[in-house]
Symmetry: D3
């Protein structure tokens, strides 16, 4: 199995509902360094998994609606705690749609699975992986 990973980041504000969150119930924020890993069983005739330029562009497009925003006020997250693990799944969905829609080029259909990992600090991160 091959994989190709590209990295970007977002800087967001948010708060959590539920006493389990302790001080994180207050409005606070995070830099999420986002690693998007595309997996495929085979490379194409050029020895590419996906076009790395398109992968970076699509990752940016998936992240742009969140970047420099307060996630508590974004309609797409209404009623959801935007935990790190939840955001991984959300971004996974957006990248999977990009692959299916051909936005990663003709190599998109080669992608068998995507793993999205968000580092919230040097000592904590979360991930979601799944098929397209």
């Amino acid at each position: 199995m091959f994989s190709l990973t590209v990295v970007d980041h977002i800087m967001v504000a948010h708060s959590f509902r539920g006493e389990e969150f302790g001080p994180a119930q207050r409005l606070h924020g995070a830099t999420f360094v986002v690693e998007a890993e595309f997996r495929a069983e085979r490379l194409d005739h050029l020895n590419l998994l996906v076009d790395i330029g398109l992968a970076k562009d699509e990752l940016r497009k998936c992240l742009a609606p969140m970047d420099y925003r307060n996630l508590d006020e974004e309609a797409v997250f209404a009623g959801q705690n935007t935990t790190t693990e939840y955001l991984c799944q959300h971004i996974h969905g957006a990248l999977a749609a990009a692959c299916k829609d051909g936005r990663l080029g003709p190599h998109g259909p080669n992608v068998a699975a995507i793993k999205v990992l968000l580092r919230e600090s040097h000592i904590a991160w979360a991930a979601f992986e799944g098929p397209l």
Copy 2:
């Protein structure tokens, strides 16, 4: 599959028996930066995999009996070479027990598997992963 990872570290002395170890047969030491990754198929109603605060606390409790110690003199390791890969499995067992015993809170039973990774330097690390 979701995962959540927290990081801590220990600073230990130890030595190895077996000529394969060369100079590492002498009493020496290591900083092990420990990454504990908890995996689960689903998040709870708050969008949590496990409570990250409890995860950090339990990891610390699992590491405390080793920290700032000479592992050669710890009864729990009698007759064992405390190689990096072996310590990964040892810590995995302690964290799996914490999950089963409810010490990671009600989210513990969601955990399907744990991966423990120990970085012994910038150029070498080991890991053990397995179900609870």
Copy 3:
């Protein structure tokens, strides 16, 4: 010249005033990984620059009033853009006071200068350094 550095982090929300900031004028957030470097010309009779345990504790105390908060609503930052470079100077002031007040132990007076570096992402950081 000797130096000793300890690391901690905070997760904050904030916004900036001034069109130069573009999208960062919106309420957003950041994880700041904080490196506090203490410098001294000499070590003490135990070969210590400052007690690393006290250094970590005081850094945490300096960061606690900011952690998991919206800096826009903190009185101490009223009328200020809490840019990364500004926060470095703010934390420097708090750590310098801790040294002068003896909160870093008898080694505090050995400290000639402090450098505070805040990483806001994997591709951008700022710092402030100055004497006590």
Copy 4:
């Protein structure tokens, strides 16, 4: 499942054929930081997965024919685009052969799979994993 990872690096020149590569069609270069991960279900009686010294030596031997070279002129890569993902598979093959041939010592047959990851920058990397 246990794993043990060792790290080395190479500094190579190369170019790519195919308009998809854009400016990377020009002769350029890369530092590839190479992570070789060996996986096994069991440790030996010394609690070793493979001898870490032999693992480092064999990784170096696999990398030496590429290091400080222009890959466009190496016969082994004739007709191939030496993309990061392709090089991962190439190195995987060389390490798998080393395991099978006993060059990683008696522990070699314990190895179930190898993952080779090449970091081409701080924001992009690729990997190949597969059985021996």
Copy 5:
């Protein structure tokens, strides 16, 4: 003293003349991860050292003529070994000119010095620092 650092990278081919370079006399390549640190004694009324967006843009413009190229064939480097330390000074000159020419905005004149650091691998890097 304040500082602000932004990061980018280039992927280049080159070779060195001089037997001291050993195998690096052959055409090879490198990924250089470039850290550009701008230093100033004071922040402006917005608490900015320099506009981080402009800093990233100007760093990219300074690096673009080198990126994805064989430095041996670039007229600007004729007769020079493009060692890591030399390239640091070269990029320093380009960034200093950008500051003086006002391309980093009205904050440019605040900059007292620039440090350019190039990481050629995880175990080697070089830097050049100097006034504008």
Copy 6:
């Protein structure tokens, strides 16, 4: 001012005397990732600060007498707490001697100062810098 940095590491056991050290009074250990930075005002005619190969070799020679050892039993450290900051100064002395003795080649006399930084974990490090 130019600088060139090379990296190596050691794995040592030791203990500290003095109640300030708390649990670190017990025999424990550390991986020290060692960064040796050589500084010079000028490069030579080949655009080299010092020969990077010789720098790596001499750093290894300076570290070898400590590696895989219990520092409490080394005569050179008798009566000393081998704190991270102390070890930085110790290694600085060894590297400075290597420069003066011509072991870093004809470029050695160009070196104006050396900084030695030891990372003891991902959240703590120390350094010593001084002239030859």
